[in-house]
């Protein structure tokens, strides 16, 4: 089971956080930032105090009830995955998350690097990914959003080539865009430790 995913930029600021499980105790948005900053600092310290030169920083933090896996990209972005200790193939999941990030955040022209991630497609695909690796307890809000997202698109019927019943795109416009999924890391950056 995957509990949450955090993404920390290279300066130690939290750019994305999302919970995928019910019944997790919530932190305030400020506490999330502190958590990210602290982890960033600890990661840097662990790589420095290692007796073996050129060691990477902390990769996994284990407790009785959960593990925090950390994956740092070559550019310094860190992906944190809070998961059940029994969760299998974390490495693969991590790679997939990175793939998702590079597809829908890095290639998105409206996403500024190192800034909080607000990319609708990233949300959608990450949710799909977490569901596929199993153990997602769909929380109420997520389910609601998802159904709203679907029903919003229901009003358009499928049209076949060369038929005459057509839609007038200018009238429908883009006002009916599906809503973005909520709960993106609200704001704030640059909380170094």
């Amino acid at each position: 089971m995957i509990f949450s995913i955090y993404i920390i930029n290279k300066a130690g600021g939290l750019v994305y956080n999302k919970d995928y499980s019910e019944g997790l105790s919530k932190l305030t948005s400020n506490e999330y930032l502190v958590l990210a900053g602290t982890f960033h600092g600890v990661h840097a310290i662990t790589s420095k105090i290692s007796p073996v030169p050129g060691s990477s920083g902390i990769e996994m933090l284990e407790t009785d009830t959960f593990r925090i896996h950390c994956f740092q990209t070559l550019t310094g972005t860190k992906f944190l995955l809070v998961a059940d200790p029994q969760q299998p193939s974390i490495d693969h999941t991590m790679k997939k998350i990175y793939e998702c990030y590079s597809d829908y955040c890095v290639k998105n022209p409206f996403q500024n690097p190192e800034m909080p991630i607000r990319s609708e497609q990233f949300d959608v695909h990450l949710l799909k990914l977490v569901k596929s690796v199993g153990g997602l307890v769909v929380s109420h809000t997520l389910q609601q959003q998802q159904s709203q997202y679907n029903s919003n698109n229901n009003q358009y019927q499928n049209v076949q080539p060369y038929n005459t019943s057509s839609v007038d795109p200018s009238a429908q416009g883009s006002s009916n865009l599906p809503p973005t999924l909520p709960n993106i890391a609200s704001s704030g950056l640059g909380l170094g430790v």
Binding site: K107, N150, N154
Partner: protein, 223 residues
Amino acid sequence: MTTSTSASSRLSVMSMAASLPSVGGYSSATASIYSKRATTNILERHLNKSRGAEVSLNAFAFMFSEMLQYTQKRVHGIQDLERKLNELGYRVGVRALDLLVWRDKNNKRETRVLGMLYFIHTTVWKTLFGKQADSLEKSTENEDEYMISDNDPVISKYISIPKDVSQLNCGAFMAGIVEAIMDGCQFPSRVTAHTVPIEGYPLRTTILIKLDKEVLEREEQLK
């Protein structure tokens, strides 16, 4: 921009000429392998061969993203941005039409609107995006309006439009391509792109083609 690109292309031509084996070198086996490698260069490739000439989608996505960011810094408002994207697409379309007509085997010139639109719907889409467009429709309200829809446009696969510019459709680039092709085939028209999501396809984009009056008049005469 044009000067810099022409300079760089000239450069690559020169360097290629330098790297090519001297005349007569083709006879030896090693030289023929060498020259085969040299033909993988885009300028050496045969124009009719489209297989294996595909461009990486990721490379395109990064370039299109940069194009959007570049354009966004130099415009005021969404309308302006779409117009600019349309212009960029137009430049692509003019060249694409040349290539497609060259590649087209039946050497036919489309004279009717429907044939022309069908050409765009199938041939153009297949060459540019590797698939046909998903539908071609005629507007019921306006005689001069046609629509080509793509359920999952390749161009905006990785793009999420933020809320504050929700009217923007990056398909304006595709619209520009279509406009250039219509223009080039003597079907002057105004082409725009609109987001029309349907169930399962939130990114569905409709290219709206509004034909000029003269095209309709000609169409009447041809009937």
